[in-house]
Amino acid sequence: MAEPLLTVRNLRVEFPTRKGSLVAVDDISLDIAPGEVLGVVGESGAGKSMTGAAIIGLIEPPGRVASGEILLDGRRIDNLSYDEMRKIRGKEIGAIFQDPLTSLNPLYRVSKQLVETIMTHMDLTERQARARALELLKEVGIPAAEERLDHYPHQFSGGMRQRVVIALALCAEPRLIIADEPTTALDVSIQAQIITLLKRLCSEHQTAIMLVTHDMGVIAETADRVAVMYAGRIAEIGPVQDVIKRARHPYTEGLMGAIPTIGGRDELLTQIDGSMPRLTAIPDGCAFHPRCPKAHFKCHTVRPDLIGNAQHSASCWLMESGAAGGASDTAGSEGGR
């Protein structure tokens, strides 16, 4: 793999409360190379958005990065001051959030918001910035961009608004984009448009993208690699094909089985009983063991780290014995080393 653009090492995010610290993100390590899309998938409360927020330095106090480091192009960015981080945010790292209505200011024209962002990060005159804003709107595929530039956000539809948000994230040509559920609020047909757009931008500009979503379908289509998160930790990380077709962690396996598919007409869906533990009550040992059909004695007491090779690994004790999830697959013999 090429030299990673973003490296996260042993990241831990804590929220101090009166009853002690809650650990929202626990010991997460990942890399993203330029031009790569890393999908981060998980259910509500898995800590996926929190990981994204930690990288752009937008964790709301009292939450804080308790330990670990975040390196952008070899430079540590997790311990920068607020002002230094501000310069990086937007310029080096762009962000796209779920709800395009809340990430745009309803009182300003789109042109003003774009020009303002461009001028903050780039040394351009207002006229040049406006020209660039127009270029960006065209790039993200907004029809009649000249006309639309001076519209207010409410005059755009949901899909178009999300395009504006993407244009805003692209203003200063960031090398990394954190996209937090960028298509969740959109209809399927519009979702396909936005995903095609993101993929094109990624390949044309060699932008690295961290795509945070709960939708496995979106990940399957867009991401190169995927990290599956559960209760603040990475359950499994690997190339998207491998993880989807030869899931090694029982959680990933259950998650894949729970997704209804067209064509596969089983009477019932695979069901993972129970729900994700709350942060106040993360079980000992492997956090997934109360819901895991394959849990054995060790899982109740000792927490597994990521086991596997550099490409594909899972934090599951089954990996050790080589009896991991993939065993049900013919290709399972090559898994679980």
Partner: protein
């Protein structure tokens, strides 16, 4: 079909969204009307699951609300087991029909009263319909219902905030079952839930259907979920059904260009390398829908006739389709 539990014919619901009278007079603004549902007809047989699918704003939730009587239709008829429930007066005449249907809503955070204990929430339909007498009997019945949906009877003492999203949706289902209905209208029951919890709820709904012989009207925007649960599917676009029929037929041999577009837009989990065809354009505003066939601005097969004339549904094979291209037999082969 003879054994239809619900018959919907030419159902229409318009909403008046005109500016206030004074503005209309001074600024000469015209009256404007949203045609949320504009001539929908279908039947649901006993024990079936009929799903309505479509993008935001296509009117699918409005149909659900019309069926349970939360809105009154502007025109058209609704018939439940032979009883007329088309208007408020007809409904009060046929209270029996009303009692046999219940609704499950999308957002389990908004549809449960946060100040009530679960036992009171679930007992409300029982008390209202006087199905069981005496507090002890009601309590026993609620416990039974909670166990039926996978909670424990002791959960009745808790408040909604003590439950997760999936558990709350189970409470909503228990409440809907409390009136012993035969027919449930489910408006996006799982779209606020995570996939693993969605699987639990869908499995539960199937189990209940088998055990209690329920009939469902299922509203969803998620085609995969719809495929999984339904026996029949109707695809809606801007207030009209564009194609409806048996699930297998609609999914394996879709005919309407909009159905094909929706199916093409689903992310491919198997990663067979099929490229997803992004669709141009968005759903137009229902205040000012396009002339002729409402789908023509986005349709790859649109002709002048489509711009001028609204297509009538025709029966093709085992499905009903409203499309000129189908009628004129100039539809390309479906790749699926």
């Amino acid at each position: 079909m003879t054994d239809a539990l619900l018959k919907v014919d030419n159902l229409v619901r318009h909403f008046d969204v005109s500016p206030p009278w004074l503005n209309r007079v001074i600024e000469r603004k015209p009256k404007s009307v949203v045609k949320a549902v504009d001539g929908v007809a279908f039947e649901i047989g006993r024990g079936e699951t009929f799903s309505l699918v479509g993008e935001s704003g296509c009117g699918k939730s409005t149909v659900a609300r019309l069926v349970v009587g939360l809105y009154n239709p502007t025109a058209g008829t609704l018939e439940f087991d032979g009883m007329d429930i088309s208007s408020g007066t007809a409904r009060s005449r046929n209270r029996g029909a009303q009692r046999r249907m219940q609704m499950i809503f999308q957002d389990p955070y908004a549809s449960l009263n946060p100040r009530w204990r679960v036992i009171d929430i679930v007992a409300e339909p029982i008390r209202f319909n006087k199905l069981v007498d005496g507090d002890a009997a009601i309590k026993a019945r609620v416990g039974e219902l909670l166990e039926q949906v996978g909670l424990s009877a002791a959960d009745g003492e808790k408040y909604p905030h003590e439950f997760s999203g999936g558990q709350r949706q189970r409470v909503s289902i228990a409440r809907a079952l409390a009136g012993s209905p035969e027919f449930l209208v489910c408006d996006e029951p799982t779209s606020a839930l995570d996939v693993s919890v969605q699987a639990q709820i869908l499995n539960l709904m199937k189990k209940l259907q088998r055990e209690l012989g329920l009939t469902y009207l299922f509203i969803s925007h998620d085609l995969a979920v719809v495929y999984h649960v339904s026996t029949k599917v109707g695809v809606m676009y801007l207030g009209r059904l564009v194609e409806w029929g048996e699930t297998e037929v609609i999914f394996n041999a879709p005919r309407h260009p909009y159905t094909r577009m929706l199916l093409d837009a689903i992310p491919d989990l198997e990663m067979s390398g099929r490229s997803r065809t992004p669709v141009a354009g968005e759903v137009p505003s229902p205040i000012d829908p396009p002339s002729g066939c409402a789908f023509h601005p986005r349709c790859p097969l649109a002709t002048d006739r489509c711009k001028a004339e609204a297509p009538k549904p025709v029966s093709v094979g085992a499905a009903m389709v409203a499309c000129h291209a189908v009628e004129e037999d100039r539809l390309p082969e479906w790749h699926g």
